[in-house]
Symmetry: C2
Subunit: 369 residues, 2 copies
Amino acid sequence: MKIVCSKSDLLNGVQIALKAVSAKSTMPILECIVIEVTSNQIKLISNDMELGIETIINGEIVEEGVIAINAKIFSEIVRKLPENDVTIQTDDNFKATITCEKSKFEILGKTSEEFPSLPTITKNKPIILSQFSLKEVIRQTVFSIADNESNKIMTGELFEIEKNELRVVSLDGHRISIRKIQLNQEYEDTKVIVPGKTLIEISKILSGEVSDELQIYTSDKHILFEFDKTTVLSRLIEGEFFKIDQMLSNDYETKVTINKKEFLNCIDRATLLVKESEKKPIIVNITDSDLELKINSSIGSMNEEIDIRKEGKDILIGFNPKFLIDALRVIDDEEVDIYLFNPKAPCFIRDKEENYVYLILPVNFSGAV
Amino acid sequence: MKIVCSKSDLLNGVQIALKAVSAKSTMPILECIVIEVTSNQIKLISNDMELGIETIINGEIVEEGVIAINAKIFSEIVRKLPENDVTIQTDDNFKATITCEKSKFEILGKTSEEFPSLPTITKNKPIILSQFSLKEVIRQTVFSIADNESNKIMTGELFEIEKNELRVVSLDGHRISIRKIQLNQEYEDTKVIVPGKTLIEISKILSGEVSDELQIYTSDKHILFEFDKTTVLSRLIEGEFFKIDQMLSNDYETKVTINKKEFLNCIDRATLLVKESEKKPIIVNITDSDLELKINSSIGSMNEEIDIRKEGKDILIGFNPKFLIDALRVIDDEEVDIYLFNPKAPCFIRDKEENYVYLILPVNFSGAV
């Protein structure tokens, strides 16, 4: 195998492939990137058994062949090479020689025979959306997946398509995040649970451009994302997602309209006084024209008032500040509406069109404030 | 005590004072910043028993007084306050109330009675240099102090003044770094050993501006830096510094002139193949018109050639790559001269005027390369 490609093309491809490389695996071959050179293309392949990536890079093909190279070492070498053409040549003993200008590296690769090939899935009609939309919707929901494996389904996100609407849902037992996107055409009803890890890795690769398209294919067990010269294939999480619609409600006793940035900064200040381990709630006291935020901890106390517009009853309610911060951070609106029912019922932060809905459970707080 | 000052002035002062706050001390009072308000000034004071800082901040003095406040909590609160005027008020029980716009924090402070006052030193004629010069000279030498305490003197830097020249020296047993600065006037001969930690902290506070002056005073046991509205007082390390002049030599068998950036990038690439634990040397092979750099490790091998100008003999010599990288990084010249004697003798990187001299000991490497 022998190829010549620019350092920047190579580096770009390697950084994409790295997203599906196991850091530490019981199968050392999974710590490799496979370079597969056929008559017409140079492909980099990685696979951690959950997630697989194939990406094609530009370059001159001098000789076909295939080799598996330790991803960490290979990526570090490529990163530090001069900005010029890079030649990669392998011999029959899987020794890879990487040359760039006067710099020459030799590292020992492996046969790719043991490397698990990516499952193939039947490509039906793809779901099409912009890279921007997918990247945004991941950012706006992925923080509320559960990070432990005790409930596998909570570590993923529901991707649900009905007609021309994509709804993405994540939840962790204390909160639910929902985002809706309008698609350009109607599709068959689809409901899959995509692992959170897949979504986190893919959003690092996506350009985030509105003008860059992306195709999604699904099968029973897999989801395939195709964009630019890259294919990302992920296992799906099997099982039935939670029935969230029965947890949602449009009833409320109190509606508050508040400046998002002021509210966020204020909560941010209040959390200074909370040690991670203490799990102290912040107390929100909503009266006619202002929202008072209070916190008392072993370190000290803080309170602050924010002007609001209010409909309905006064209410005194406690929250885990992190949950409010997470939701407010990913809302782009200048003002947000918060709907409350009573101090034991979930609150909802949502816009009128319900393009976003964030449900947050309140926290009990003991007596006197 | 009651003061009103702008958030930015307060934050700036707090960040300076933080540099001399113990992170974890057996004396909890040392985790505090003292706010001392007298009839004409607001002073922040910190002291970790090695290093003491006093800095004056602008503000309105409403009531005199003094309080010690936990530095970590206080600095975090100040950092997150809105950009506006901040009022700090304390009561007889050392409760501090910090208000800014509609935000109000209450934290419990302490009496400053237990806080160790900074030693006073007699101020003779100060040594004057620019903040830029001091910051630069620290950056250019501090990497080669020893980081363990087994030899206390090696954890500091020699500041030696003779007439109108300041020479700063650090060494760790494998290398010596020397920088010389011309001062604007002549001073009495002075020789002190300043703790590396002091220099690292002070260089974080210095503006780095050529036009900003700084005064240095020394006594038997202390060194005092005065600049802007800040005073930094440090203990000196007691003892006699190493006699370095007898280790320096202007003899050489080989002189190499090399492009600094090329050499640095090349060493940087070579170190990719070295695991921290392996301590593999890089092999430098100097022949008539080029310098070849080689490394062989368990991961692979690398070699690269760089064009040079050479005087004298060919030489094959091994180095710890980190020592070369550290020295080359802080030299601003485009080309550097390297002087070598033999594979067991130290090499010198120095300019003609000897404004900088970096001595690096070579490393033995075993036989065949």
